[in-house]
């Protein structure tokens, strides 16, 4: 290491690392928040693995996870039932958190989420078509949801291009139009469809972590591990684009390409999370907001949004397992309930916007 080429400087809020070709700025508080939430999430995840119809003590869970399991049925329960479920919760939460952070930055709007380009509604249309009209199984439903979401997002993006460039505002308005139309189609299917199908469809719309296996978990984990770091690397560029396209251009950023890549990344993350866990709508909106409030960050809080998303979903799952007696508590709805209450509580406490 050459001292002239690598330099680390620190202030009260930041750590800055510079080398000849690249530099990184690290916000201390964001790092603290990320580490704290990661720790709590991992602890909660281990707790979640011990809970269930068969109680399994911590020691055994940890031993099994480290590969020193005793075999038998309990190991099967841990490795093939509970672990995939918890992993789906963690990675779906993280993916949605990052997806929301990207959309809020691109649209410069606190209400931004994969919804604004009609993604969530499109996914629901795909799933409802499959459930109400074709009557496919769970995997087919997940696949059509993904397809529906991706198609809608692509269509909205293409429709909002004018003179070779999109504009955040036009993207938002086109998304509103597309979302509303598809939403009407969804309602039509729910109202005119057979009552049993409509109830099944409504359950899918509520999101679920039940009966998740490695088929759900593996693609989700693969996509999240690839796309989230990618998004993290582009966070700084997104922050600059927030200042306006002209300024970003002056700073040497190809804003159209960055925006396109980031939207694609966010849509893919949302798609794969929705396929794995159903639509968990509110997470993408709440996680980045909670992250930027807790981390007091001015940039796009990519990693803290990921950990907070994961935290919210795992904690909600845990809470439903503690609470559930004979009530059905779909994970998408309980996330809305707890996430919403948490955000409201935080709003009553914080003075800054």
């Amino acid at each position: 290491m050459n001292g002239a080429q690598h330099r680390v400087s620190a202030s009260r809020r930041h750590l800055v690392w510079r080398s000849r070709h690249a530099s990184f700025i690290i916000e201390k508080r964001a790092v603290t928040v990320t580490i704290a939430f990661t720790t709590v999430t991992v602890a909660a995840a281990i707790l979640a693995v011990t809970l269930g119809r068969v109680h399994i003590p911590y020691a055994e869970v940890i031993a099994t996870l480290l590969g020193h399991g005793e075999g038998g049925m309990r190991q099967q329960i841990i490795l093939n039932l509970r672990l995939p479920r918890v992993l789906v919760a963690i990675f779906a939460g993280a993916s949605l958190g990052v997806s929301g952070a990207i959309f809020q930055s691109v649209s410069r709007n606190a209400l931004g989420s994969p919804d604004i380009i009609g993604f969530t509604t499109g996914a629901a249309t795909g799933a409802l078509l499959q459930i109400v009209i074709f009557g496919g199984g769970p995997l087919a439903v997940a696949f059509s949801a993904m397809l529906g979401g991706l198609l809608t997002a692509t269509m909205v993006y293409l429709l909002s291009i004018r003179h070779g460039a999109t504009n955040g505002y036009r993207l938002v308005l086109t998304g509103i139009g597309a979302g509303a139309t598809l939403n009407a189609l969804n309602s039509l299917m729910l109202v005119k469809g057979d009552l049993d199908n409509a109830i099944a469809a409504n359950l899918w719309l509520s999101g679920s972590l039940d009966a998740r296996n490695w088929d759900h978990a593996v693609p989700l984990m693969g996509a999240a591990c690839l796309l989230i770091p990618l998004a993290g690397l582009a966070a700084r560029r997104l922050t600059m684009i927030e200042m306006g396209d002209d300024l970003a251009r002056q700073l040497g950023i190809n804003f159209e390409r960055t925006r396109f890549c980031m939207i694609a990344c966010a849509v893919l993350l949302a798609a794969i999370a929705t396929a794995a866990a159903g639509p968990i709508a509110f997470l993408a909106l709440a996680a980045p907001q909670l992250a930027s409030r807790l981390a007091a960050s001015r940039g796009v809080p990519m990693f803290s949004a990921a950990t907070i998303g994961a935290f919210l979903l795992v904690m909600t799952d845990l809470a439903t397992q503690f609470l559930a007696t004979d009530l059905v508590l779909p994970i998408g709805r309980t996330t809305g309930l707890f996430g919403g209450l948490y955000l409201m509580w935080l709003l009553t406490r914080s003075k800054r916007s």
């Binding site: 209400l111 604004i116 009407a184 003075k351």
Partner: protein
């Protein structure tokens, strides 16, 4: 009032829209699962004959229903325009204040707990829920600092989600019958609404509209941001309070009467803005007339499209209006808030 260039053009276009609205109303009364000739309709108004079933249909069902469509549309259009000015957010519709969610929650509770089935009782619970939710968001948005739009929008979004989640949890845990009733209410429909619904809704909406139109100037300043509004002599607390009151009245009445219709409150102001630009003196009347026009047409088409059944006005509005809205956004230069 001082005349500005463009006023004459805007007034002419508005008159044109009113004529269109009038034609749409006639279409709304004539059209339906059972078409009624114009002359019979005219006679039903002028020489009412209680023995003629067509006359009864026109007087007791078609006319109140069409009037209600106007009131609901107008209320939602104006409420949406105020909401977007107040929060300075193009994504916000009246539903963002948690009002639709509050009404939905109250009505679901009423269906599930008290087994309520009639439309007039829905209205009572709807207004109650809307008022409670609106008051809660008002308080939440006001705690600490006042008038920070991001905070209000987030508080409303959070409360909406909490209420909708609770509604869904009640639904998932209730009988199938409850879900069946709710799904029909939740898409927005004017089916079976008559004078007992029309009269109270008209009164509430009229008060809401009156408050809204006193606010046009204040909203222009509010859209500039809290600091600038204060510098221009506006009182943010007063604007915020009156606007919220008017939104609760307008949106509560409309939602209670016709169910949650999200689309029109969101898009009618955008459509109006494409014609008028951002000033509220013209924006509010335009949003009102455009929304009323679309609602009447959507309701009538919903009755014609699949006889003898009908498609709810909320669904029809979005199905027709969505593509139209996208086309507008593509063609026109966008006027920002």
């Amino acid at each position: 009032m001082q005349k500005r260039p463009g006023d004459r053009r805007l007034a002419t276009v508005l008159c044109g829209l009113l004529v269109l609205l009038f034609i749409a109303v006639i279409f709304g009364i004539v059209a339906g699962a059972r078409p009624i000739p114009l002359t019979t309709t005219w006679n039903a108004v002028i020489h009412f004959d209680a023995a003629d079933s067509d006359h009864l249909l026109v007087r007791l069902i078609r006319i109140p229903r069409t009037l209600l469509a106007i009131v609901v549309g107008a209320s939602l259009g104006v409420a949406g325009a105020i909401m977007q000015a107040l929060t300075r957010n193009p994504l916000s519709d009246p539903g963002i204040l948690g009002i639709n969610a509050g009404a939905a929650m109250a009505i679901t509770g009423a269906i599930a707990v008290f087994s309520v089935t009639n439309v007039t009782a829905y209205m009572f619970f709807g207004i109650l829920g809307a008022a409670l939710a609106g008051a809660a968001v008002y308080l939440l948005g006001n705690l600490g600092q006042t008038g920070d739009p991001v905070r209000i929008v987030l508080a409303g979004a959070a409360l909406s989600v909490v209420l909708l989640s609770l509604t869904q949890i009640i639904l998932v845990n209730s009988d199938e019958q409850v879900f069946d009733q709710f799904r029909n209410w939740s898409v927005g429909s004017l089916q079976g609404r008559s004078y007992p619904v029309l009269l109270p809704v008209c009164v509430i909406a009229a008060v809401g509209l009156a408050i809204a139109f006193t606010l046009t100037k204040a909203l222009d300043t509010a859209a500039l941001g809290a600091d600038l509004a204060k510098a221009l002599g506006g009182d943010p607390m007063r604007i915020w309070g009156l606007s919220t009151l008017s939104i609760i009245l307008l949106c509560g009445a409309a939602t209670a009467a016709a169910g949650p219709i999200g689309f029109i409150g969101l898009t009618a102001p955008h459509m109006a803005r494409l014609i008028t630009g951002p000033g509220h003196r013209w924006l509010l009347p335009y949003a009102m007339v455009i929304a009323a026009l679309l609602t009447v047409v959507a309701d009538a088409l919903g009755r014609v499209i699949a006889p003898p059944g009908e498609v709810g006005v909320g669904i029809m509005l979005a199905l027709m209006g969505g593509p139209f809205f996208i086309m507008l956004v593509q063609r026109r230069r966008i006027s920002k808030l």
